[in-house]
Each structure stands twice: as structure tokens, then as C-alpha cells.
Amino acid sequence: MWTQTKSLSLEVDGAGPAVFRILFGLLGFWSALRFILNDWIERFFVVPTFFFKYQGFEWVTAWSQTGMYIHFGLIALSALLVTLGLFYRVSVVVFFLSFTYVEFIDVTNYLNHYYFISLVSFLMIFMPLNRCFSLDAWFKPSRGSGHVPLWVLNLLRFQVGCVYLYAGVAKMGADWLQYAQPLNIWLSPKTDMPLVGPWMDSLWLHYGMSWMGCFFDTTIVFWLLWKRSRPFAYGVVVFFHLFTGYLFNIGLFPVIMMASATIFFDPSWPRRLLGSSVPGFSLSAPLRPGHFWGLHGFGKVLILGYCLVQLLLPLRTFTYDGNVLWHEAGMRWSWRVMVRQKTASLTYKVTLPKIGRTTLVSPSKYLTRHQEREISTQPDLILQLAHHIARDFEAKGHESVEVRAEVTASLNGRRAQVLVDPTIDLAKEEDGFGPKSWVLPAPTDPPLQLNRKVARHSL
């Protein structure tokens, strides 16, 4: 069902994208509420005394406790307004800015699905998703044509498609496919789960889930786009995300992806589902098919540019030598979801030439346990804390402070190996987008494989 407007932009039924908006707003509201109700605001933004910054966003800082609660209140309110489609443009701008601001406060809080929410809310700023099923359209019927430009639909599909596709690409490594890691580690202890527990320590299941997970992520977009396979594919999407949500502590991620995958449906699906006889559910003008973009001129350039960035950004890791799971360069913004089990032990060695002393410093002196756990495996964050430690000692009157890191990390069950060159003075190293010569090579031995049906909670 397609049409063409005066601006020559081809249009589609806005019902599907409007439902996407409603679900997205609800999830944004729920997400903010979780932070408020679970005391996460205090844990992640009030208790820490040091925050890890993104390059170029060092100016982003946490507010006071009250300020942070007000900030999350703003996120929740704007998300609710997005859901209702009330003051939509302003609401979605406020939601994007306030949500993304929080994401930028501390790198240790980075999650792929937060990044996804930021990207989608950014795109939604330019999308007239309030033309359908919104209070804006209800108050001002002239806005409620019920149509949206075709590029709106396709750009949202592209964005959701990127998540799945690159999540699949990230799984195409030897650890995942050849050794079924880290699923082998993660599933083995879950033998006391209801129903599925007895199989959780079976190696065939670990391999099966690894390969099926990779196949699912890499191809699901195609199956969702193909009309014939779509109903079955969405069923698989629901099963996949419910199952992974049941198995792992991944918060709202499964719900977000299940909601997002509805964008692959025919854009008129809500009308078909609810019936055109329901008031507000019929289109005022007929639609006709168009081609891919449905947009001309500068807008097309912007969209193509955005798509290019989204396509290339996750691929940047291939410009670095070595294993991204080890050196982590190109790990963020790349949809590398659930691909590694990594733990580390980190201590800093601080040399104070002025008094001729070298002392060890535990990261726990500056960080919460959550932060310490996160940074110990990520070289760029290890570097950030090294700089902070150097500044801290210099502020106490020491000069030419040298900071070295002693860090060993275990990747996917392997014996721990030195991650960062302990001879390098990190205080003198600069962060950047280039490869980090002070990160030592990844382990070459295969990961440990838990290969026995054990760990049952009862015989």
C-alpha cells in the first residue's frame, strides 16, 4: 500500500511505524523506571567518584543525586509523551538528548541496546511518526494523514537489520563456532533451570545454540522481509529472545528486539489486525508501491551517509590486528552482543621518582566493583584510569608519576594471560583510535571446553 505526495516522496501506511513508536516509547519509559526503582541511579551515577569518558564527550558529567533523579524523570516523561504521540517532535528530541547524555556519563555502563535506543531515537527526530495513533493527530487532524514517507520504514528496518546482521558477524569466530564458547561456559551451570535444565550441560546443545544463534542473527532480517517466511520468522524471533532473556540477565534487550522486529511487518499490519472498521484505523487515501528510498535530493544524501557510517563503524575492528575480544578495539558500537566471557585481575604499579618509591594501587581505590570488573578487561579504560591515577598523585605533590598496569585476563575459560605490557608507562601513552602497541597479543591456545555432563544440582 503505497502513495506519492506533492514532495514526490513515496509514502506508506504509517500504522506500523506508529506502533513501533508506541512500543519504543513504552520501553524507554520502562527503562527509565527500572533505573529509578532499582536504585541504579545511586549505584551507577551517585556512588562512583570517577567516571570513564568517551573521547570528545569528557564534558558530560553526572548531576547530583537529586539532579539525576530529575534527569531520569525527564527521560521517563519524554518517553511517555513519545508513546502518546503528544508534542512528539519536542518529546523525542528531549528523549534522545536526555537518554544519550546518561549513556555518555560513564563508559562502564555501555550496553549495545542503550546504543540502539539512542540511534533509533535520533532517527525518530526526523520521522513523522505521530501521523498515526497519536494525540498530536487527534488534536490536529490535518497532521493525521496516516501516511509516512517510505524512507522512514526502510531506515528503521535498516537500523534493526544492522543489529542482527553484525551480531551474527561477531559470532563468526573460532571460539564461538569451533569451541561453542562462551555458551559452553554460560549454559553449563544452568542445570537446575525448570524444563530445560537437564540439557544445559550437554555439549551438543552448546554447539547447536552457537551455530543456530549465528545463523539466526545473520539471516533473520531476510526471513522477516520475505513475506512468505515472515510469520514463521517472527515466531522464531519471539522464541529466540524469550529464551535468551530467560537464560541470561540481559534486561530489556529481548523485549526491545521483539518490539523492533515488528518494523519488518507490512506497514498496515495494525489495521489488518484491528480491522479498518475501528475508528481511526482506516486510511484516508489509497497508497501505491514505490522503490527503495522514496526520497530525493539532500535527504537521500544524508540517509545514505548515515547508513554508510552504520555499515562501516562495526567493521572498523577489521582494520586492527588481532582478536577484538582480547584487545577490544572496535568492540563498542559494533553490535558484538554476548560474544565473550572475560575476567581479569588488575593492579597498577605507580612509581614516584621524587621520593624514590614504587607502590601498588588497586583500582578499587577509585572505582566501584562494577566499574572495576568492567575496566579490568578493556585496555582503553585501563589507560584512562592510569591517567587519572597519575593526575591524582601529581595533585598530591608528586612529579613525573609513572603508572604501569599489571593485568592478567582469562578469555572464554583460558588460563589467564598478561593483557597489557607491564613495562609501559601508561601515563605517557595517549588514547586514540589507532592500534595500541602496549596491548599484548591474544592467547593462541584454544579455550577450555567444559565437556562433561556435570554440575547437576542433584543426582
Binding site: L165, V169, P189, V221, F292, R340, K342, S345
Partner: protein, 452 residues
């Protein structure tokens, strides 16, 4: 024209197909790249942690993971609860009761006159009680676990801090309480912070033979304009006051250890029942893994407190750049830090092996062997024993060793203090890395994640 036609007919699912092809191409590129790296890196000498971890074949235990075949996680929980933690608390209670009677005898003797013998007996009783408690110090899960904070363990009641609160101690406040003579009141500790009572405060009261107080000259205790101040007390007053104070605190410690045992035991609040039925109808733990996560969280005491605070800080290795750091030792007045540290290591060893080193029992070593990580099980078992032995061989007190330590970061095993530190670190490095990695044991999740 052909290009325009192509673009016009280019639909979104075509675009998706292109993306998929790109994905597979990238994948095959990655796989080839990884294979090439593997080949190259096998020729690169990488520094492995094993190279700086001396292993000593003489360090052996009788528990060699022999239960791996019969291992179940419920059996592990049962072993931890029934063979290690609960008996540890019961033993601690026996010792704190002896402490109470010894301090009572000291008080009585002091009132009668000379009490030198009774004081020594009370001090020895304190040492015995402290050792018994230190073995259980790592077992800070369940009722002993701290309340509040970011990762409260299931069933936490904060009872550990009621019994022993180090490093939260405050001798000045203890003196203030002695001066104000309020310690005999019922439920006295209810209104006080934990740093003025417990075994640590009792140590100060029994072992500090100075009659001065631990407060600064400007503190209210030393303000002679106040109605009650320190200078009013004679030496004998102070000794008597401190003895009575110690007795009151000893009674309170006993009461708290009894509360802890009551909270654990079947027939009491039965935390043990909830713990051992984790994942099988437990009212606290929906899965065995949750219970094991709490245990693992508690085991990190070996890293953050034993290694960092009890060993490294007083030695000036870590978090202290002053000329002398020995004042940070755990047992400053009884000079019993080394022995207490030894008890901590033995406590860790018991929970790792499921019991004493010379007794076969189901422990984490069996868990590791059962999942195929025999190397790690053997290495940790051996390294724990080496650390225990190293500390046993250390001469003199930890305070003395820290005092004579020249201050370095222990890159070698010299002096002896460094050898101890490095042996403990060998254990904690494995604990923090491969151990939690392969058993997927970690801190309780604070929030959602997608393993980025």
C-alpha cells in the same frame, strides 16, 4: 540508463542480501585472519602468568579432587554449609565462651588485687577466639554478610560486623565509651557504630597496657573542662574500667555468635536449609548458581582484605607511601596479625577443598575437576597450600616484618614478606580470572547487561 533502472528496481530485501554477503565475506576474512594470527603468534613468546608463579611439588594435600565423578553442586553447597561454615561458627562460639569466662576471671582478680596471670589467660583466650573467628572471616555470605552496599547477599543480616568489624575500628571511641562507663547498659551496642565493639575493640581493651587514651589532645575525652574527662581516671581506674568494658563486649560477641548460629541452623532461622536447597525449593535462592555466586563474592575477601589490606598496605606495598606503614597491621595491639592471616588462608583452603586439607571432601576443587579444569584445580590447590606454608615459615610478627620492610613492589620473593604476598597473589589471580571465568561465578548482577 541501466544504472537508473537498476537503482529503481533495487528493493530493501536486495539490500539486505548484499549486507548478508558482506557479513559472510567479513566472516571468512576474520577466520582466515585468526588462523594466520594463530600461526604467527605461536612463534611469539607471550608472558604467561604461570611463569611468575612458582610451583612447589612438595606442597600437597590429601584432597586431590577425588570426588569429581560424584560431584553435584548441591553436594558442594551441603559440604560448604555442613562441613565448613557451620562447624566454624560453632567452634568460634566455644572459643568466645572461653574468652568470656577468662575475662570474667580477670575482672574478678583485678577487683581482688593482682591479676597478671588472669590477664595473660584472658589475652590467650582472645587469641584463640580471634583465630577461630578469622577462619570464618571469609564466609561473609548469608546472615554474616553485610547489609546494604551495592551487592547484598541473600539472607544477609550484617552479623559479621557485630562480631568483628576490622578495618572499621576506632580505639579513641572505645576509650570514650570506657570513660563514659555506658557499656554495661542493656542493648548498649544497639545505639553504637560497630567500630566501638566486637573482637577488635576487645583486643584494644585487653592488650593495650598504656593508660593514656587513643584520642587526640583536642578530643572531648581530653577536655578537662568537661564534667567527665580522662585525666580524672587513675591508672587502676582505667585498667578496671577497661576490664569491665571488655567483659561487656565479650558477652555481646557471644550473643552475636549465638545469633549467627541460630540464623544458620535447622530449627533456628535455617539459612542452611535455604542454602543447601538452592534451586530446589529454596526460599532464598532460585538457582544453585545464585548461592555459589554469594560464596564466590565472599571469597574475594582473600583479595581485597587479606592480600591488599592485611598484607600489602602495612608493608607499604600498596596504598601507603609513608615512611612507615606497619601501623596498618590488623592486630596492632596483640601483634597477632600473622597468625590471623594464616587462619584466613586456612579458612579459604577449607572452603575451596570442602574441608581440612588432609581430609577428602567435596569442594570447589572437585567442581573444577568435574567440568574438565583439572589443571586449574591442581594449581589452585597447590598454590593455596604454598601460601599457607610460606606464612607458617615466616619468622617474627607481621608488624616486625612490615617495620623492617624497605618498601618495594615485591617483584621477587625477597624479603620473606614479599614471598608471602606473591604466593597469596598467585591464588587471587587465579580466583579473579580463570576460576570465576569458567564456573561463570561472579558478583551478583547489579543491573542488566548484554555482555558488552
Amino acid at each position: 540508463m541501466y544504472l537508473r533502472h537498476f537503482l529503481h528496481s533495487f528493493r530493501f530485501h536486495h539490500f539486505t542480501l548484499v549486507l548478508m554477503v558482506m557479513g559472510f565475506a567479513a566472516c571468512s576474512l576474520t577466520a582466515r585472519q585468526e588462523a594466520a594470527e594463530d600461526k604467527n603468534q605461536r612463534e611469539v613468546v607471550t608472558t604467561d602468568v604461570s611463569t611468575d608463579t612458582t610451583t612447589d611439588d612438595s606442597a600437597t594435600t590429601s584432597d586431590d579432587g577425588a570426588f569429581a565423578d560424584a560431584f553435584t553442586k548441591t553436594a558442594l553447597l551441603e559440604g560448604i554449609a555442613q562441613n565448613v561454615v557451620f562447624p566454624g561458627y560453632e567452634f568460634a562460639l566455644i572459643k568466645t565462651k572461653v574468652l568470656q569466662s577468662s575475662v570474667q576471671a580477670y575482672v574478678t582478680a583485678l577487683e581482688a588485687g593482682d591479676a597478671a596471670t588472669e590477664l595473660v589467660a584472658a589475652q590467650e583466650a582472645w587469641k584463640a577466639a580471634a583465630l577461630a573467628w578469622q577462619e570464618t572471616e571469609l564466609y561473609q555470605f548469608g546472615p554474616a554478610a553485610d547489609l546494604g552496599g551495592v551487592a547484598t547477599a541473600m539472607g544477609a543480616k550484617g552479623l559479621r560486623k557485630q562480631i568483628y568489624s576490622w578495618p572499621l575500628t576506632n580505639p579513641c571511641r572505645v576509650d570514650q565509651e570506657s570513660l563514659e562507663n555506658v557499656f554495661s547498659a542493656a542493648n548498649y551496642t544497639m545505639n553504637e557504630l560497630e567500630n566501638v565493639y566486637g573482637l577488635d575493640a576487645i583486643e584494644y581493651l585487653l592488650f593495650n597496657r598504656e593508660t593514656t587514651n587513643a584520642c587526640s589532645s583536642g578530643h572531648v575525652v581530653n577536655n578537662t573542662e568537661k564534667e567527665v574527662h580522662w585525666a580524672q581516671l587513675s591508672d587502676s581506674d582505667i585498667r578496671e574500667r577497661r576490664a569491665h568494658h571488655a567483659l561487656a563486649l565479650t558477652k555481646e560477641v557471644n550473643r552475636q555468635v549465638e545469633s549467627l548460629i541460630f540464623a544458620w541452623k535447622p530449627g533456628g532461622e535455617n539459612y542452611m536449609g535455604s542454602f543447601t536447597t538452592a534451586g530446589n525449593g529454596s526460599s532464598l535462592f532460585g538457582s544453585v548458581q545464585l548461592a555459589l555466586n554469594d560464596v564466590t563474592d565472599a571469597l574475594f575477601y582473600l583479595d581485597t582484605l587479606v592480600k591488599d589490606k592485611k598484607l600489602a598496605k602495612p608493608a607499604g606495598i600498596q596504598d601507603c607511601t609513608a615512611a612507615s606503614c606497619e601501623g596498618y597491621v590488623e592486630s596492632l595491639y596483640a601483634r597477632y596479625s600473622k597468625e590471623m592471616l594464616h587462619a584466613n588462608l586456612v579458612g579459604f583452603q577449607k572452603i575451596f577443598l570442602g574441608g581440612k586439607a588432609d581430609v577428602d571432601a567435596i569442594g570447589f576443587d572437585d567442581y573444577l575437576v568435574s567440568v574438565g579444569a583439572k589443571d586449574l584445580a591442581e594449581r589452585m590447590t597447590k598454590n593455596i597450600q604454598i601460601a599457607v606454608d610460606e606464612l607458617s615459615m615466616m619468622e617474627g610478627s607481621l608488624y616486625g616484618a612490615a617495620q623492617s620492610f624497605s618498601g618495594n613492589t615485591c617483584d621477587t620473593d625477597e624479603p620473606e614478606l614479599c614471598a608471602v604476598y606473591r604466593k597469596v597473589k598467585a591464588v587471587t589471580d587465579d580466583l579473579k580470572t580463570q576460576f570465576v571465568n569458567i564456573l561463570d561465578l561472579e558478583l551478583p548482577q547489579f543491573a542488566e547487561g548484554d555482555n558488552d
